[in-house]
Symmetry: C2
Subunit: 191 residues, 2 copies
């Protein structure tokens, strides 16, 4: 509940994260942030002189979010499928019905115009996420709970592409497409 007692800097990052998920990094402005927060653009420049600074802070916020969410999932003494479901629910939690996508998908879409520092951060975040999913898959296969061929890293890639791609498609085709994609993926992994 400490989320209610955020300082201004955290408020800015938090709102910018929402706009990143709905519009993408290049398509929200300091004006958007200022209007919503009831302050001026200049105030935001005080906290983040250049937009690239805000972008780096956004990447750090996503990293923090991953860290907490992944730790919570890892510690829960659940089946591999339960963990995958928890991951999916984490992704959907901020997106469902709101036309938002994974923030990393948004950053990938704008990669051509991102500052170098953000590209590097994005790459690390993606890799961290893929390794997290690969570990769950490997555990599930060792348990005879999940079935798949090849390396867990490669299977993790398919899983993550499916989840994030489904979110993107849902903005055009409605939320049911997410259910379809998730159900089909689960059916495959259960053999």
């Amino acid at each position: 509940m400490q989320t209610r007692l955020k300082n201004r800097k955290e408020q800015i990052v938090s709102l910018a994260l929402e706009l990143l998920k709905s519009k993408g990094f290049e398509n929200f402005s300091y004006q958007d942030l200022a209007k919503e927060l009831g302050i001026t653009k200049a105030s935001i420049h005080h906290h983040f002189p250049k937009k690239a600074d805000l972008g780096v802070a956004l990447c750090a916020a996503i990293q923090e979010w991953h860290k907490r969410a992944f730790a919570k999932i890892t510690l829960a003494d659940n089946s591999a499928m339960d963990k995958l479901e928890a991951y999916i629910n984490g992704l959907l939690g901020f997106a469902c019905g709101q036309s938002k996508v994974c923030p990393l998908s948004s950053l990938q879409a704008d990669v051509a115009s991102l500052p170098e520092e953000m590209k590097k951060a994005l790459k690390k975040l993606d890799e961290h996420e893929l390794t997290f999913i690969a570990d769950i898959l490997e555990q599930g296969r060792a348990n005879n709970e999940l079935m798949f061929k090849g390396s867990a890293q490669h299977q993790a890639l398919l899983f993550v592409l499916t989840c994030k791609g489904a979110l993107q498609y849902s903005r055009v085709h409605g939320g049911s497409i997410i259910d379809d994609a998730i159900a089909q993926t689960k059916a495959q992994l259960l053999g």
Copy 2:
């Protein structure tokens, strides 16, 4: 070879399509087009008064591209896997090593700010593509060439999400991630 004899209007659409694939619809400007073509912004406004007009023309160009590519693949008397590979090669043809993605992925990323007409066109294009892939998958399953559970439409969704998602990821992680994703998908379908 008639591509060399394009009139200006076609040149504009052709270049805009490239910029769409690399930067997204909201992130290329009439100025970008004008500079590259060696004409002024006003000339482009003559052909496409508003950017939304250009956007609609882009959707039509993509539809035309689909029509040709899908017809060619359908008519070839090949296995289902050959057809899937031809589809993948079509996607990769414009993207590989150039940091470009599927134009429909680019449009999806910007869907929050697209004019209504483009959203409708995008939806139709997506559906057409999914049905095309679903038909190939169904044919392959009927032949005992491919193996998968559930409906061909749902499996087609996974396949398309994987191909396009891999392209997006490759801009950050390099082209090898495409090979990994495609290989893993093929292995699954071959049972």
